[in-house]
Assembly symmetry: C2
Amino acid sequence: MTRPTPLSGFPEWLPAERLAEQQVLDRLRRTFELYGFSPLETRAVEPLDQLLRKGETSKEVYILRRLQAVEGAQSGSASAEPGGARLGADDEVSLGLHFDLTVPFARYVLENAGKLQFPFRRYQIQKVWRGEKPQAGRYREFLQADIDIVDRDTLPPHYEAEIPLVIGDALRSLPIPAVRIMVNNRKLCEGFYRGLGLEDPEEILRIVDKLDKIGPNAVAELIIGAGGTESQAKACLALAEIRSQDTSFADAVRALGVEHPLLDEGIAELSAVVETAREHSPGLVEATLKIARGLDYYTGTVYETELAGYEQYGSICSGGRYDNLASAGKDVFPGVGISIGVSRLLGLLFDSDALAVSRPTPTAVLVALWSEEERAASNRIAAALRARGIATEVAPVPAKLGKQIRYAERRGIPFVWFPASASAEGGDQVKDIRSGEQVAADSGEWNPPAADMAPTLQ
Amino acid sequence: MTRPTPLSGFPEWLPAERLAEQQVLDRLRRTFELYGFSPLETRAVEPLDQLLRKGETSKEVYILRRLQAVEGAQSGSASAEPGGARLGADDEVSLGLHFDLTVPFARYVLENAGKLQFPFRRYQIQKVWRGEKPQAGRYREFLQADIDIVDRDTLPPHYEAEIPLVIGDALRSLPIPAVRIMVNNRKLCEGFYRGLGLEDPEEILRIVDKLDKIGPNAVAELIIGAGGTESQAKACLALAEIRSQDTSFADAVRALGVEHPLLDEGIAELSAVVETAREHSPGLVEATLKIARGLDYYTGTVYETELAGYEQYGSICSGGRYDNLASAGKDVFPGVGISIGVSRLLGLLFDSDALAVSRPTPTAVLVALWSEEERAASNRIAAALRARGIATEVAPVPAKLGKQIRYAERRGIPFVWFPASASAEGGDQVKDIRSGEQVAADSGEWNPPAADMAPTLQ
């Protein structure tokens, strides 16, 4: 075998990075569970027709075939479609890898509705796959951490105000730069556009979504190109400029003189989101009326999140309220959710050395080994330490003492334990190899400082 | 959308089951880290040629294609192979989903050898995919939890004795039936067969591997069919019958009168494995000389694990030592590892109601809501409880009190919190809805009993 090389778009972390990722995930989980979200996982695959329901993402899907089915096709089986998306056997549905966690979750809710308690809140931390061209910060395989709350028939709007509290607490539990959640409301925009007399509010939303990329002049031109007047375009841009960390955005919107019942509803909902967040975490949430979110399925509050110092990389955490994603016959399950792009976030932080762990191994203590015959004695010490929650390894070989200490040093293991049998002083000793301090110790009683028990994020 | 139905072979847990799985994984992780294993994940895909190196599993691989590439092929691109395993674009390698975690780990070690510290110990908990026909207990997507220790050039045999300690501690940390790890050694078998004069020991191993399925007579016939004599076949069967929880297996092997240097080496290694385990966990490990493991790459100790009461379902945790899995040019990385079939194990336990969680939600407290206007007050109580680690939800709507209590009951939430504002007695109260006991409480101080803090495995 020749030495393998990385696959573009499929990032893999080194052990220290993975240890950091694991700690990040543990803290996210902890916060999600404090808010009563249940862990959930769905299978990696969905029927292809479900994945292709949303036109926009159809190009990004990885389809699956069993090699056996392919080989059957190559040896002349009539049922195979050359190059096609179907699996070989007729009784199997065509499958693709999921490209997000929202579509699979909506399907899961429909499939298991009779066994779930509504409103149902779940978090889901899984890999997703997109066959896009890999670019900086854009992967073909990446980890997402999603939370959603779905209800049967109707979903009270206060859940749209709760989501930013959860995400705020979760992200603020990490030693990362400050986050700002930018919120808007689809009803507010749609009501405003309709109040202005614009007849295709979705089209206007898609145009305004390009504001940061193409600038206000180009946006105005596109609105006019879509049948709007100059003054309508101007009003749309004026709306998009409004932002506030309190409910004063409402006055600014009113000052534009547009009226529509949907606009009133949107302003009320967005005010509740901003007010709830302001009481909980001042500075966390900002009404930012240019936020549009490209995807069609959002129907109320939408969220995007900026990381201070990393604004140019776009949103690290996005979502919104959706009313039409999960429905079967008369059953409708509206929901609201948000998704943290974990791989993308960590990729940015690792690349700029902004996140690391205190040591690159779980091990706190290396038990030295005087001879291979004394391995059982060193094992007993290790077992006694582990029984009290102290992560411990035994030295691989009875090398010279200096070599065993260097073994620990290279790994960032803070303590080396010297078993009594060959120690000059008689009893067991433990050495902090950073300070050089060495003390007598009993493996049934000694504890490392709390900060050294496990690797911590820093 | 019509109501979706499950996909055969792609199991999904309900929330309570997933909560149990999560707790199982947390305990496994905890033990792995106590032994100094670092968490690691590899991408889900590997180049197809790497996945097909081992002939035996070639039929089980799921291959991936980007839908875009397929559509390019259908519109007449010359580079596409009909039904073939290659992706559409020439610059992309053919990819398949990994079918285990050992092959990807071996590749990862080769790829990152310069950045790893050896011996390198990692654990890896990920889904794997196999395109096999789904059957009872055999899935197309399932979760594995693997530990491996790899070293550069040579790997001391004491690591083969350490693996059962880790797995024993990990599985014994779960409230599941007793496990027994059955160990054997490839050198012992090969040396014995060679000492007997049998010239294709691998073939004999593959035949003996079928013992439980086809019985001793059929095994003897196959050995004779493969060129063995009747007395050689008898000796092979006698060897396969030997089992002991101490090193007495060695005497039983010697009593068969066969000699070979490789046999001596195997006996010594297996004795060390049994002796180390016996000191650490009496009854955990048994030398079981019929254990063969089908896969070719094992070269030393091999492991299989039985769960008491579930013996007929086969091994829940298997592995062994391998010397030739990871090599590139002169670099060789021998290793030893074991893999817990988590989905399979949990599927068995869930199906027989042998594993569950104490409640199906993380939430310990539901804060009641007297009116929508008082939501901010209920939110404040929830925030105070969460700040002290108590998982809390606020009631979804200001329904009648009985309805709010039933909401908690249906979810298994043990406590309902009554905010002061509308409570007859003046201050906040909290009710244990199982016992009916209700007491005055301060959200900055009250704690539930430790057993109610989080769902626990039972």
